[in-house]
């Protein structure tokens, strides 16, 4: 809402209150002033001039040589190129030495040999938004009203000596979507006197009810409808003061009838509609629900298809307007209109909201209906508009208003208790102060014991509960006067849940081993959502799509984080940042339903992605590119941190998007919790990135599993004995499998088995490899002898020979 300081001054005594202070205090008490604009924008030296003579320039077709009187003394010569300049006009003149917006200084000039002492201005040159300039002046200078006094400052005639306050209104304060509402608020904040317009009408003897009847089908949809008839209207431009007020509020002047309805909309917040009575098509207004498939051509010349949940104004047979949203083209006011049917009504907010949403029509009117207008000001607004039509459009107002529904309703009563207010606010506001605050707000009330029974004015639709009144008392009292205290009550320990603690642990671990945390979007493309989930095809879950995506890029909820992390690699490698190791913890969304009827499964996942060098220390020639085992090492360390490493298994698999020979699923207690591998080289090429490795884990499963508590185990008291063995194995036998085989065969005495060498290639038979294991034997009860060890060790050897077809090497 744009509020003119000068206009507001008509209703509230603002003596001694500058626009800055007004903005500041209004903001502090609840209505944010988002900006103050000075309309003059530094303009000086612009006066009212009278064009006494206007002749064609001798040397230029499109220029005129004008003699303009700009005060006492001789007229000055001004060259003007506007097509609409003419003798006898009153015009705004920027005299020599004047300054226009943008610090544009006017100097004496010579145009094609003729002297020019200034400039006749268009509204645009005076800083008015080109969209607000009335059509007739859009391509030329502005022609002022005839009564403007020559030599006087032109800005005050054009209301350009004004300040505009831009209010950022929260949805509850629809009462300030009009000047009178803002005046009430200002008066309350500053404790100033309020003077509101009181429409007075000189009505003719003829009665409006002879011209029109009104019938409302359902008062639930339309609790009040009033119609006035005004005859002998002369449609034409509205006066300067009205035009300039509309312009300053961001509304373009059209003609006096439309301008009046817009003016009253701004002043009272009441949307009005003026029909051309002669084009209305009947003497009957009927407000009803639309029939399915019914159509109406609206003012913007669009054919609108209506639904039964839309409310329409009809002439008894066909719709002439969509209630509260837009009028019909057929009964639009034109230059030929002489008789006006003026509508002032109260429509149910939700029905207007639905229609304006369905039809994609948002207007100054529909927003006000939706947010709630002053039910008890509808009647007065109609009179105000009729008064203005008589005053400035020469209209004759017919007697009375033809109405359906009660003109006024009783105000709601809400009780507020002083003690409760103080308890909620934490203050000690005295009863006397509450009296004062309610009076400042202009609320009527009764007071008994500690109870204030407040009659809430109909303009304040936001006040329905005691808390609402407590807020009113608090904000007028001043929130800066509320003390700062700390809550009293039972002490709580607070803290993190086990899963939240584990998540922090995972983060710290990954960051300490060198990964950066990334944060990416949950919404992605269908293609990306379908990739790298690491599941076998038959397990694939269904998509979750947004019903009206803003773009294809953000249309589907991600099922895995990996594609987003591939984007991170791509982004960085495109910028020559080649060594990337990042992780992300976040939700992924899965559903097994074709049609989503309940919550999808939201899984907390951990994904990490690696590309380029893992270690690089140039001057010592150390260079270690990322490979599968670097990534697996990170994962192994993570499982140790989480206390599940003994229960983890890696199983070689082939998965879509992954390298067929370098991919494994990760299992916890035999259940798949994730995938690790190299990005398929074909995908790598498509992404245009370097060799890349990745993993993803379902953290919910990992975090939910029970973990043994930490128990100290005694330090070894006896020496252990190590034996190394090198086994020649078939290529397709996995080293890890043999390792677990050895461990199992070694029984209690075999404490540890580690792999310390792998040899493939030269000197090995085709299809064979050599893997060397180091076995550590230990007995916590006594010092082991060679015989003790030999007994177990030979058992281990024969086991691996038999089980894995292994032979001892060298």
């Amino acid at each position: 809402m744009l509020v003119s300081y000068n206009w507001l001054k008509e209703y509230v005594d603002l003596d001694g209150i500058q626009p800055d202070e007004l903005a500041d205090r209004i903001t502090k008490s609840g209505i944010e002033v988002e900006g103050i604009e000075s309309l003059s924008q530094g303009i000086s030296g612009v006066v009212v001039g009278h064009v006494e003579k206007c002749e064609q320039h001798p040397n230029a077709d499109k220029l005129n040589v004008c003699q303009v009187k700009i005060g006492e003394g001789e007229p000055v010569q001004i060259i003007c190129g506007a097509p609409n300049v003419g003798t006898g006009q009153k015009v705004p003149v920027a005299t020599v030495g004047a300054v226009l917006p943008g610090n544009f200084k006017i100097k004496k000039a010579k145009l094609r040999g003729e002297i020019s002492n200034g400039m006749i201005c268009s509204l645009e040159e005076l800083g008015v938004d080109v969209k607000m300039v009335p059509k007739e002046f859009a391509d030329g200078i502005y022609v002022m009203q005839e009564d403007a006094e020559v030599g006087k400052n032109a800005l005050s005639y054009l209301n350009l000596d004004d300040h505009i306050l831009e209010l950022g209104l929260t949805p509850n304060r629809a009462d300030c979507l009009n000047m009178i509402g803002v005046a009430y608020e200002t008066a309350a904040v500053f404790e100033r006197k309020l003077t509101l317009p009181k429409p007075s009408l000189n009505e003719s003897d003829e009665s409006a009810s002879d011209y029109i009847s009104v019938k409302v089908d359902d008062f639930g949809d339309n609790p009040y409808y009033g119609a006035k008839v005004i005859r002998n209207i002369k449609v034409g431009p509205s006066p300067e003061w009205m035009q300039s007020r509309l312009i300053s509020a961001g509304i373009r002047p059209i003609n006096n009838v439309v301008d009046i309805t817009n003016y009253v909309l701004l002043e009272y917040g009441q949307p009005l509609h003026a029909f051309d009575y002669d084009q209305f098509g009947s003497k009957e207004v009927l407000i009803r629900r639309a029939e399915a498939g019914e159509k109406v051509m609206t003012l913007d010349e669009e054919m609108r298809k209506l639904e039964p949940h839309h409310l329409v104004i009809t002439n008894g047979t066909k719709p002439v307007a969509v209630a509260g949203v837009m009028g019909g083209a057929d009964s639009e006011v034109s230059d030929e209109t002489t008789t006006i049917l003026l509508e002032a009504a109260y429509f149910k907010p939700s029905i207007v909201r639905q229609a304006s949403k369905d039809l994609g029509l948002r207007s100054e009117s529909s927003t006000r209906f939706e947010k709630g207008i002053d039910r008890n000001r509808v009647y007065e607004s109609a009179n105000r508009a009729a008064e203005l039509m008589a005053e400035i459009a020469g209209g004759e107002v017919l007697e009375g208003i033809v109405e359906a529904g009660p003109r006024f309703v009783d105000p709601e009563k809400v009780i507020v208790r002083g003690e409760r207010a103080n308890k909620v606010l934490g203050t000690n506001i005295e009863t006397k102060e509450i009296h004062e605050i309610l009076e400042r707000l202009g609320f009527s009330y009764e007071h008994e014991n500690d109870e204030f029974t407040v009659e809430v004015p109909a303009r304040r639709t936001d006040i329905t509960l005691e808390e609402d009144l407590i807020e009113e008392i608090g904000r007028i009292y001043g929130y800066d006067k509320i003390p700062a205290t700390l809550p009293e009550g039972a002490t709580t320990t607070g803290g993190l849940t086990p899963s939240q603690m584990k998540r922090r642990k995972v983060r710290r671990y990954l960051e300490s081993v060198g990964l950066y945390q990334a944060l990416t979007y949950s919404l992605t493309t269908k293609k990306k959502a379908n990739a790298y989930h690491g599941l076998a095809t038959e397990e694939e879950p269904a998509f979750i799509s947004v019903s009206m995506p803003m773009s294809e890029e953000r249309a589907v909820l991600r099922r895995t984080i990996l594609p987003q992390l591939l984007e991170v690699i791509q982004y960085n490698q495109n910028r020559q940042l080649n060594d990337v190791a990042v992780y992300e913890i976040g939700s992924t969304y899965l559903t097994d339903e074709g049609n989503l009827a309940k919550h999808p499964n939201e899984h907390q996942k951990l994904a990490a992605i690696f590309s380029g060098l893992w270690h690089f220390h140039p001057w010592q020639q150390e260079k270690k590119p990322v490979d599968f085992y670097v990534v697996k090492g990170v994962l192994d360390g993570l499982f140790k941190k989480l206390g599940v490493s003994g229960r983890i298994e890696y199983q070689q698999v082939k998965r879509e998007g992954f390298h067929p020979g370098r991919t494994a699923i990760v299992l916890l207690d035999g259940k798949q919790i994730g995938v690790i591998g190299q990005l398929h080289p074909a995908d790598q090429k498509e992404w245009d990135i370097k060799e890349t490795y990745l993993f993803e884990l379902d953290l919910d499963i990992v975090f939910d599993t029970d973990v043994e508590p930490v128990v100290y185990s005694a330090l070894p008291r006896y020496p252990s004995i190590s034996r190394d063995i090198a086994l020649i194995l078939d290529q397709d036998v996995s080293a890890g499998e043999v390792q677990s085989g050895i461990k199992a065969a070694g029984g209690e005495l075999l404490k540890e088995v580690s792999i310390f060498d792998l040899y493939e290639g030269e000197h090995m038979d085709e299809g064979k490899k050599s893997v060397a294991y180091s076995l550590t034997y230990y007995n916590p009860e006594k010092t082991l002898t060679d015989e003790d060890v030999e007994k177990v060790h030979s058992k281990v050897l024969s086991y691996v020979k038999e089980k894995f077809n292994a032979t001892m090497r060298g």
Binding site: R353, A484, G489, G494, Q500, Y516, L596
Partner: protein
């Protein structure tokens, strides 16, 4: 004999002093103190001396031996140190060469800000509550006093999935869910951080996905002054001890009264700068007293219980704290951006 011993001592000391290597010194040791050395020889010849002179001479011989031994030992120590020094000076390295890099990542700046805030409130006895990002219309709107067709729904244009499911537009549904779980019994003290989604076109100041942190305290005697006190403490811990806060009336459907909370500018201390747009105050939070409808819908008796709630945007706080100028940086994951937050 005595003379001989003294000469030997002099000779030996002279040689020891001139010895320039450990080898030479070892030779001197053997020469004088060895079993075939002159002192042993002297001692052997003692038998020829009269009995009364023997002890005296024996003592003298031992003294000479002692002197030589001490001299040799100390010379040896000296030579050894010189040897080591020589050796070590050959091992000198250029300490200005760079060290072997230790890999070190760090948290995303938004996580850093969120954790700092979480920890701050954990210290005041709050728990961390989380909830689903795909929410029902009920929890995202209705339970928060935003019935269907409420104009305030326009404040948050949402990504709907079905008629009833949507990407949550705020973390407030977690408040509703948590209160329900408490079955009408306080206190409820939670902080709920998380991702939220709104239909905004991404630009320097808007993002269709962003973070939010909300707090909720429901108990029997909660007052708006408690909200002011709690948030003052919060602002001081996050932005510095000298911070003050200012409450301005505002509107949120789920609180009544509702306020915007400004913190005095931490850059200029309120004198006015570009960060606070010359007002001395920075808008940081939205807050208010929990609306009685919200309490009732979640199973709390609003006559018995009151509460306060507040919410803020970690992006905004991170942008202010670190001077970041474009919200898209948080989601681009440029390594040159991420690595700047090691200390955060």
């Amino acid at each position: 004999m005595q003379e001989r011993l003294m000469t030997l001592q002099e000779e030996a000391v002279e040689k020891i002093e001139h010895a320039s290597s450990l080898k030479e010194l070892q030779d001197i040791r053997v020469e004088y103190l060895g079993k075939k050395g002159p002192i042993t020889e002297v001692l052997r010849g003692m038998g020829k001396l009269p009995a009364e002179e023997r002890p005296k001479m024996g003592q003298l011989a031992n003294e000479v031996r002692e002197v030589i031994t001490t001299k040799v030992d100390s010379k040896q120590e000296k030579l050894e140190r010189e040897e080591l020094d020589r050796q070590l000076s050959n091992e000198t390295i250029d300490v200005t060469l760079p060290g072997r890099p230790i890999r070190q990542g760090n948290a995303h700046p938004l996580t850093a800000v969120i954790e700092e805030i979480e920890d701050l409130f954990i210290g005041m006895g709050f728990s961390i509550a989380e909830g689903p990002e795909v929410e029902t219309d009920y929890y995202n709107f209705e339970a928060l006093n935003l019935p269907k067709n409420h104009p305030a729904r326009d404040m948050q244009d949402s990504f709907f999935i079905t008629e009833d499911l949507l990407l949550r537009t705020q973390t407030s549904p977690v408040q509703a869910r948590t209160m329900e779980k408490h079955e009408g019994k306080g206190p409820v003290k939670i902080i709920s951080p998380g991702k939220v989604y709104r239909r905004d076109t991404d630009d320097a100041t808007h993002s269709h996905q962003f973070m939010q942190i909300e707090g909720l305290l429901v108990d029997k005697n909660i007052r708006m002054s408690d909200l002011k006190g709690t948030l003052t403490l919060f602002a001081q811990k996050l932005f510095g001890e000298e911070r003050e806060i200012r409450l301005r009336p505002s509107f949120f459907p789920f609180t009544e009264p509702s306020v915007e909370v400004d913190v005095s500018c931490f850059k200029c201390n309120g004198s006015g700068c570009s960060i606070c747009k010359r007002t001395g105050w920075i808008e940081i939070l939205g807050a208010g007293m929990v609306h009685p409808n919200v309490l009732e819908m979640a199973g709390f008796n609003s006559k018995e219980y009151k509460g306060f709630a507040f919410g803020m945007g970690p992006e905004r706080i991170a942008m202010l704290k670190f001077g970041i100028d474009d919200i898209r940086h948080f989601y681009a994951n440029d390594l040159r951006f991420l690595e700047q937050f090691k200390r955060a």
